[in-house]
């Protein structure tokens, strides 16, 4: 009996991955980011949040390959002497966690509502769809800004956990980038599956409707959702970065990439480009690799293209 | 001279698990005005044969070997532009689903006129006249008015008639019909079959009728080719193939069909199933399921078409050298 890993590797999806150098590249970059994020404490050469280790005399050092740079700070330092590389690694972790959590929350809400709407039909379906229409008619970033901004204005000193919670909520409800698209997709798939004969067979056997919804229909509607979610991670990360850039995202004590970019923005015109450019490059790399992965996944899972 | 001649056609599909041979050395000929039936179960390769002839083989499938000759000229290796001229003008096609065979956004008249004008040097007015005449010939009532209707305004049977009219629009010599009646009700099926027969006889067009329904073959065709696992198992005049099948597969197939005349308790069943493309047995493809598999030769050597009475069968039973009376 072949192991699951080998079976996956040898499957059509596995082959598609191996055949596409772009997908492999994207997967590698994404893997490196995730690794750094998980093991930030061991990977980062310094801890940028430990005030005791900061040396103001090392502030605003350019990257190591410049004449004034030092090998101790590979990508330079910011105005408070924090190592950019380490801040980058910790920032990546925050961005990834927030992005993934945002998508996870969107998934939970969206799939649940979509299943309910598709399986029940009637006025429940109508109500859910109208809510979707209303939510998606707002520009995505505006809603997120609204939620995060108002929360920050009301509770400027909220503990870190609450701040992140609000941020994740803002991402999940960000208009048509949030849970709405999952709800619509799942609803459409549910309506298709509901008419299929294996569902009717379950009804003939007497299986209760809730069990049919979760045990029969749900496993069959997750396909398109997987692709959507992967691509949406990139959007969520960028949304989070935007919010942080605008000052209402991650709290300043745990800066994400967006915060770093904002901080560095102030020093851009005085010549210290590295403080903002490197977080920017990192952001682009993550978003690009996740997007490419999502693209590849969509093509790989599409039976007609195989 | 035969109108269409297929010689040793081999169609392959390269997959990452190796190259699959969907058609393996298919050879037959169609005389002008003849109706040839190609029958077989799903996976036998009959639709692929039709698609190869029309030139609509979907990539990555490709013709790996063999030739297709239309009136003596090779057509299988032609570039797209030339193939397009042949398709429609000399070979017409009818597919299974009348709903998707017609463009829902154009009226029936527009589609007919487009086909006629693409292939025949006639004016628009004359094309329209021909279109109306075609609709009348295919038995659509009130053709003058219905020519301006959209496909969704026709019922299933009527739509298939329109598809037949479309196939005949450029006056082709050969029509390839792939399961033209499968999606239709039994009573409509009878109408369409009769229409196909009469209109092809009057216009002198030959027909290659692909189907899995032996009854339709029995009523319509002059000759029939029985396909199995990408090869032709038996070919011959329809009456002889049905009543005196020479190949054990054909015999089994005939016996398995419930028919209206005899009363039987259990239908004859051929055990097992048609082999998958990546697991075709060596030698004769039917040998694992054959009740008459009688010698090692069946398992090692693949038989070609051997004369067996009025038909030809790919079976060693009929090889005079085998010394076995079939």
């Amino acid at each position: 009996m072949k192991s699951t890993l080998y079976r996956w590797f040898d499957s059509d999806v596995g082959h598609s991955l191996r055949a596409s150098p772009l997908a492999i590249g994207a997967a590698c970059v994404a893997a490196v980011c995730v690794f750094c994020a998980l093991f930030a404490g061991w990977v980062a050469p310094h801890n940028p949040f430990d005030l005791a280790t900061l040396e103001l005399s090392d502030a605003r050092l350019p990257p190591a390959w410049s004449p004034e740079g030092s090998a101790k700070y590979l990508l330079g330092t910011d105005d408070q002497g924090r190592d950019i590389l380490s801040a980058l690694i910790y920032g990546t972790r925050i961005s990834l966690i927030v992005g993934l959590a945002g998508v996870a929350l969107s998934l939970v809400i969206g799939v649940a509502l979509g299943l309910l709407a598709g399986a029940t039909g009637g006025w429940v379906d109508g109500l859910v769809m109208r809510v979707c229409d209303v939510v998606s008619s707002f520009p995505a970033i505006l809603v997120a800004l609204l939620i995060a901004g108002v929360a920050r204005a009301l509770y400027p000193d909220a503990p870190e956990g609450i701040a992140f919670g609000v941020l994740i909520l803002a991402i999940a409800f960000a208009g048509s980038n949030g849970w709405v698209q999952y709800a619509r997709t799942v609803r459409a798939s549910t309506m298709v599956e509901r008419g299929k004969e294996y569902v009717q067979a379950a009804r003939v056997t007497g299986v209760p409707p809730a069990r049919i919804m979760f045990r029969h229909i749900l496993p069959n509607v997750t396909g398109p959702v997987t692709v959507l979610a992967t691509i949406q991670v990139a959007t969520a990360i960028i949304t989070e970065a935007t919010l942080s850039f605008l000052g209402v995202g991650a709290p300043p004590t745990s800066p994400s990439l967006g915060t770093l970019i904002r901080v560095g923005n102030d020093y851009l015109f005085s010549g210290e480009w590295w403080i903002t450019v490197f977080p920017g490059i990192m952001l682009v790399l993550i978003a690009l690799s996740v997007n490419l992965l999502g693209d590849w996944l969509r093509d790989a899972l599409n039976p007609r293209l195989r | 001279m035969a109108l269409l001649e297929v010689q040793n056609l081999v169609v392959e599909f390269p997959t990452r698990r190796g190259v699959l041979r969907a058609l393996d050395g298919v050879s037959f000929a169609i005389a002008p005005g003849e109706i040839l039936g190609v029958v077989g179960e799903s996976g036998a390769g009959k639709s692929l044969t039709g698609a190869s002839i029309i030139g609509l083989l979907e990539p990555p499938g490709r013709i790996a070997a063999g030739q297709i000759l239309l009136e003596g000229e090779r057509i299988d290796h032609l570039p797209h532009a030339q193939l397009r001229r042949i398709r429609g003008r000399r070979i017409g096609a009818i597919f299974q689903d009348p709903l998707t065979s017609l463009n829902p956004l154009y009226t029936v008249g527009q589609q007919l006129v487009e086909t006629i004008q693409t292939h025949l040097p006639v004016s628009a007015a004359e094309a329209r006249q021909r279109a109306v005449q075609l609709l009348k010939d295919t038995g659509i009532p009130a053709a003058e008015q219905r020519i301006g209707h959209y496909p969704h305004q026709f019922s299933g049977g009527m739509r298939q008639r329109v598809v037949i009219a479309l196939a005949l629009a450029a006056e082709p010599q050969l029509i390839v019909a792939d399961e033209p009646t499968t999606a239709l009700d039994v009573s409509i099926q009878a109408q369409i079959i009769q229409l196909l027969k009469s209109i092809c006889k009057t216009r002198g067009a030959a027909v290659m009728l692909i189907t899995h329904d032996m009854g339709v073959i029995a009523e319509t065709c002059d000759r029939v080719a029985v396909m199995y696992a990408g090869r032709i198992a038996e070919i011959g005049p329809v009456h002889d193939v049905i009543n005196h099948p020479a190949h054990p597969y054909t015999a089994g197939l005939m016996a398995a069909i419930p028919d209206m005349e005899s009363e039987r308790d259990a239908l004859y069943q051929i055990d097992g199933a048609m082999p998958r493309l990546d697991a075709i047995p060596q030698g004769c493809a039917f040998n694992p399921r054959c009740p008459r598999g009688f010698q090692a030769r069946c398992r090692t050597e693949r038989p070609g078409l051997i004369a067996a009475g009025a038909t030809q069968a790919a079976c060693w039973l009929h090889d005079p050298a085998s010394g076995v009376t079939a």
């Binding site: 299929k196 004969e197 294996y198 009717q200 067979a201 379950a202 009804r203 003939v204 056997t205 007497g206 299986v207 029969h216 496993p219 069959n220 | 179960e41 799903s42 019922s155 299933g156 049977g157 009527m158 009700d185 039994v186 009573s187 409509i188 099926q189 009878a190 109408q191 079959i193 009769q194 899995h212 329904d213 032996m214 009854g215 339709v216 029995a218 009523e219 329809v238 009456h239 049905i242 009543n243 089994g252 197939l253 005939m254 398995a256 069909i257 419930p258 028919d259 209206m260 005349e261 039987r264 308790d265 259990a266 239908l267 004859y268 069943q269 051929i270 055990d271 199933a273 048609m274």
Partner: protein
């Protein structure tokens, strides 16, 4: 409402299933807003319009007809997937519709099961065969413990001609005929008495069809099953059924035992249907095809539904709808011409 006159079955055996005046209407009107604006009337589809029949224990009733005649709807009415808008049916003496709504629903669902047409859509592609076949067992609590469940699934798979190793596989690893066998195994899990089969072999090749039909007949003999067999293929029907009902536009036009129906069809539609079947061994003979097509079920003709296509229609046929009445030899026909002796 048509009274069930002389039953087709011997008076001693009370039928297992008796349907009377079964009807199902679907509301296919446009949404309310569209109707208001475009002034469209309500559109009601009378998919089944007053169907009555009996099935004796251990026998097979086949319902034949072309697309749109309502036979699939009848099948779904009999397994409780739809509730009838009028009439109903009794199962083993009790009112089935009331039972499906009430507390006896579970017990009734154990005794009635269904086999579907499409072997590719009738099995959940994400479930293993063991789970698919075992679901009715778990749902009704018929076996306790994993070992007992596996043993019973084992038994069922062997019963339908599959091997016990197939338990761990997924549906996409099987061919159409094998999937249909898995469907049959699932249907037999609760040891039902009545099986409704909705075109079980229409999607299968001829040789596979033979295997599945033989299997079904075999099971019927061994387990004393009662079948309602829906099909559009008269040759298959002739092979499997004991009694045959011909449907047209939601109504039963003829109901007879098999031999009588095929040797002496009375209703004009039945005659035309039989004549339309291609005859295999009588090659080259021209058939007289039926004229016209099945009318739009949303707008059925007044009177007898078949009158536009019937060569024997008269004024009464166009005005009055015929009821199913006795026509001798245990046959029931819904036709004025037959009743008046014109045919």
């Amino acid at each position: 409402m048509s009274t069930p006159a002389q039953p087709l079955v011997p008076a001693l055996a009370s039928p297992l299933v008796r349907a009377h005046d079964l009807a199902k209407t679907f509301d296919v009107s446009a949404p309310w807003l569209n109707r208001m604006i475009e002034r469209k009337p309500r559109a009601l589809l009378h998919a089944v319009d007053g169907v009555g029949f009996e099935i004796a224990r251990g026998q097979t009733l086949a319902l034949v007809g072309e697309s749109g005649c309502g036979k699939s709807t009848v099948a779904r009415l009999l397994v409780g997937l739809y509730a009838p808008t009028r009439g109903g049916f009794t199962f083993d003496g009790q009112d089935a519709h009331a039972a499906f709504q009430g507390k006896e629903a579970r017990a009734l669902r154990r005794r009635i099961q269904m086999i579907f047409q499409d072997p590719y859509a009738s099995l959940n592609p994400r479930w293993r065969v063991a789970d698919i076949v075992g679901e009715p067992l778990r749902e009704h609590g018929l076996v306790t413990g994993k070992a007992a469940l596996e043993a019973r699934v084992d038994e069922l798979l062997t019963c339908v001609g599959l091997s016990p190793q197939d338990m761990a596989k997924y549906p996409h690893q099987f061919s159409g005929g094998q999937r249909q066998r898995i469907s049959i195994a699932r249907a037999l899990a609760t040891a039902p008495e009545f099986l409704v089969c909705d075109e079980p072999t229409s999607a299968l090749d001829v040789s596979v069809q033979a295997q599945v039909l033989n299997l079904m007949k075999d099971l019927q003999r061994k387990q004393g099953l009662t079948y309602l067999f829906i099909s559009h293929n008269l040759a298959v029907v002739r092979h499997v059924s004991d009694h045959v009902g011909v449907m047209y536009l939601g109504r039963l036009v003829e109901l007879a035992d098999k031999r009588t129906l095929f040797s002496q069809p009375r209703h004009p539609y039945t005659r035309m249907l039989l004549d339309a079947i291609p005859k295999m061994h009588d090659t080259g003979r021209a058939r007289t095809p039926v004229q016209g097509e099945v009318p739009n079920p949303l707008d059925p003709p007044p009177g007898c539904a078949f009158n536009p296509r019937c060569p024997h229609a008269n004024a009464r046929c166009r005005a009055e709808r015929p009821a199913l009445h006795e026509a001798g030899a245990g046959t029931r026909v819904a036709c004025h011409a037959v009743q008046e002796g014109r045919l």
